[in-house]
Amino acid sequence: MTTYTHKKSLRHITDEQFSEKTTVDGNRIDKALAESVDHVNNIPTGDVLSRYTETKFVFGYRPSRHFAGCLTGTAGAYYYAHHFPWMPIANNADLVSGDDPGQQNPFVVKGVDQSTNPFVGVYAVSNSGPIPAVSGGSNWVVDFNAWDDTGSTQGANDFTSGSSATNGPANGYQFAWTTSFNFNDPAIIDDLMIVLGIDGAGNLGYASSATIGGVAKFENPGGAGYDVVSVVLMVDNHFSKELRKDSEIEIAAHKYNLSGFKYEYATVSQSTITDMSPPLDTTSKGLKDSVILRWRDLNIPMHAGARARLSITVPWTKQNIRPCGLTYESGGAEVQTAPFFYFSPRGCMTVLEEVVR
């Protein structure tokens, strides 16, 4: 059988074709060489396969957890710092201060509302109602006076109080840390990592014991259960940029069992670790007990002009509930349900961008 051998033609760097038994004159050769040399001297970006470099958006902080009166107070009363940058995912009249023209977006993060999820059970959130709904009423003046007091009565009637029995949002809200980015030129999301860092006593401010409040870190009291952290990356809809229900979801990570994402599974003897300087708490080398959620090689394109919003959501559920070990309590002296103070949220989004002129 006669085999066919395909002979490639010049196609890319010049349009000139040269074949046997056709006229090959100097003008055509000259044109071909000129086009080719010009091409190689100014290689188009599209001819470069490895035309991306990466950029890292690093975020995170270590929370200030509590304050036991230092200058004037006495140890034993726990007051909580602000919970920023975490804010409720819901927008409603109960979460407005001052004039209320009505809410444009009932939810700022799409697809994470668990208030109608029948499987959440005791970890249910309602994402509605005032914060806090405390005994004694939600009258603002009452609450403000409590907050505005000093000394032992400070915070006695708001969610920062040391009394876990009567405080915390009775209905439960989900809170989000939302960061937004603008990509004027096309980009590619390559990697996303979220760390819920646990450290030792000298770092986060509490002892790194095997359990938190009798519950293993990042596990439910009943074992592997409902998994309440969500990570969502949305891009504004180009035609309705301010309506979150129209946003395009690019990453939606829900209901991951956090116990499956621990930094390490095996028990590594801390004494065997070659550490770096400066040393941290001797019980927390290597992010022991921390959770790392990481998604690699995502290859998610961002169009030119994309407005991306990255949200991490956690529930602040009904009082005395410890979803997924997100909260901590030491003998009932602290509010059990506010998750913001019990891990150091850290993360990094890696984005690929093209080389430019």
Binding site: P44, T55, T179, Y265, A266, S277, V355
Partner: protein
């Protein structure tokens, strides 16, 4: 290599000799054989971003500093091979160009601002005491619609000469004889994000960006990204009128472009020129060889046979049609044959430390008891995933004395006593996620005292004379508001270049065995014995960069009787408003 040249003009009727046809072809083949430099690429610049994530800026900061600036200093110094000690930039040093500024914050997707933790609270001298105002506010984060229309946000990038290259004097003294550290000398960028653009129900400019900029940045100067948002403070007054609001989850992204350049490499003969580099390649390029078969003299030049015009030019065409490449592959592997010479770009990774504290700053007594007992340290750490190889050339960190706690008639914040507090910063690579073994390899480390202009490792300092740090006629002993310190790389047998004596560039990248063989690494500097080499502890299995920072008291916080030591005065400012930033600076590489 330089651009390919060819003789012009091959008119009809001219004698066709091989030099006319094949010299340019050989030039092109040589270029594509691993010698494509930036002069031959349509897109000759890499981009990089300085990304600053600031979780929270309270109205209190701008109440304490009316008309002032919350700012973050940074610099983009020359890489080690371009390093010179004088104020001039050496010829050939690539220059960063600012092309885009992005700014965003969380409005909860409403034409509103979030209520501050100080919402409905009247700022006055009594409440400047941090002790009385630690707790969370039941209204914080609430939507405040009627304040969004009041807030113009001013953004600026200031420039100043750098102490490391042009010696300057830190602040000193108090009162009328006080000397203030130098401030901004010029402005590179300034814009106002007007209230109308964040308070509309449609078309809000958040996230906002300003592109098309072309501002050259000096590698030997210091810059400050600054924010003013005075109207976060509601001056209406009264417990029911003070609708103070906050900037929450601020994201700043400064995009730069800079010419691509050659990546770092070493060799088997001098492996320590690049610490931790895979010994399978030492980072060296292996070029693809494209050969043009040139006919001899008196051979007829054919059209598309071997040694013909079409066949030989087709080799160039074929290569470009299948695209050219450079940089690294996955797992730090080099290409079997690459084409691009300049395949690396500038990179800076900004890592926030000690940010988002309860008061926004770390004041001695109110914060130190946060750690409950008589520990002498206050620590923070961050991890950054290693996704693609980079080489680290410099590590810097900023230190702040900014404050939102102004003079209250008797107390004011001030730097801790000289010699009593040090700031320890370390960068390492860590292997061990989901494994039964965890180990770190030190990349850089320094212990710095933020005491004086002569402090070891100081790169620069500045003072924009914010009111709370200055207290005007009550001028306190203020060294500076912000400063930058260097953190030298570990140093083995090869000494690199930089602000301090430090080691050669440090390679960071994932590895694989079985064919890639990138897990075997060159030795690195011994952190405990500068000048000596040791085998890397992470054994080429690194997954993350870890950044640690520790504020360490030089002595006990409490005396034997359990009372505060005198040097830990109430409002000694251990870490100012906004905390510190660690900058990891080096080369990143082209990738697919």
């Amino acid at each position: 290599m330089a651009k390919v040249v060819r003789r012009e003009g091959l008119p009809r009727g001219a004698e066709l000799i091989k030099e006319n046809v094949f010299d340019p072809m050989e030039g092109m083949a040589t270029a594509l054989s691993g010698n494509v430099d930036v002069s031959q690429m349509q897109a000759e610049n890499g981009t990089f971003r300085l990304n600053l994530n600031i979780p929270y800026i309270s109205a209190k900061y701008f109440w304490a500093n009316p008309g002032g600036w919350f700012y973050v200093p940074f610099c983009l110094p020359p890489l080690q091979e371009n390093w010179t000690t004088g104020p001039e930039v050496s010829p050939g040093t690539p220059i960063p160009v600012l092309t885009e500024v992005c700014f965003s914050f969380d409005q909860r997707s409403e034409p509103a601002l979030p209520a501050d933790a100080w919402h409905k609270k009247v700022f006055d001298s009594v409440r400047t005491s941090p002790d009385a105002n630690y707790v969370s506010n039941i209204n914080e984060g609430d939507l405040v619609y009627d304040r969004a229309g009041n807030l113009d946000i001013k953004l600026a990038i200031f420039e100043k000469t750098q102490h490391a290259f042009y010696t300057q004097t830190a602040g000193s003294g108090a009162g009328a004889s006080a000397q203030i550290a130098p401030g901004a000398e010029s402005e590179v960028f300034a814009v106002t994000l007007p209230a109308a653009q964040i308070s509309a129900r449609s078309g809000r400019n958040n996230p906002a960006s300003w592109d098309g900029l072309s501002a050259p940045i000096s590698p030997k100067k210091t810059y400050m990204f600054a924010i003013n948002a005075d109207n976060l403070v509601d001056s209406t007054g009264g417990a029911t009128g003070s609708n103070h609001t906050a900037l929450v989850s601020v994201q700043v992204s400064l995009k730069f472009k800079m010419s691509l350049f050659v990546r770092d490499s070493s060799s088997g003969g001098s492996p320590n020129n690049l610490q931790n580099v895979p010994t399978a390649s030492y980072g060296a390029r292996t070029n693809e060889t494209i050969s043009i078969s040139v006919p001899t003299h008196s051979t007829v030049i054919k059209a598309d046979a071997a040694q013909g015009v079409s066949a030989e030019l087709g080799k160039i065409d074929d290569r470009l049609r299948h695209k050219i490449y450079g940089g690294y592959q996955d797992f730090s592997a080099t290409y079997v044959g690459q084409h691009i010479l300049d395949d690396a770009g500038y990179e800076v990774i900004a890592v926030p430390m000690f940010n988002n504290q309860a008061y926004g700053e770390i004041l001695a007594k109110p914060c130190w008891l946060h750690v409950r007992d008589n520990v002498r340290r206050y620590s923070d750490r961050a991890v950054i995933p290693i996704t693609h190889p980079m080489t680290i050339h410099h590590v810097l960190f900023t230190h702040s004395f900014l404050t939102a706690t102004p003079y209250n008639g008797s107390l004011y914040t001030f730097p801790p006593a000289t010699g009593k507090v040090v700031y320890q910063v370390g960068v390492g690579v860590v292997a061990g996620q989901m494994s039964d073994s965890v180990d770190y390899t030190q990349v850089a480390y320094a212990s710095r005292a933020a005491d004086a202009a002569g402090s070891a490792g100081i790169v620069d300092f500045m003072d924009l004379q914010n009111q709370a740090t200055l207290v005007k006629d009550q001028t306190r002993p203020q060294r500076w508001e912000q400063s930058i310190f260097s953190v030298p790389l570990v140093r083995g047998s090869v000494t690199g270049s930089g602000y301090d004596t430090q080691g050669a560039p440090f390679f960071v990248g994932e590895a694989a065995r079985n064919g890639y063989n990138t897990n075997t690494r060159a030795q690195v500097g011994d952190p405990s014995s500068a000048g000596s080499n040791i085998t890397t502890a992470a054994a080429g299995l690194e997954q993350f960069l870890e950044v640690r920072m520790r504020i360490l008291a030089q002595g006990d916080i409490f005396n034997a009787a359990g009372a505060w030591q005198s040097y830990v005065a109430d409002w000694a400012n251990l870490s100012g408003y906004g905390g510190s930033w660690v900058y990891i600076i080096g080369k990143k590489h082209m990738r697919t």
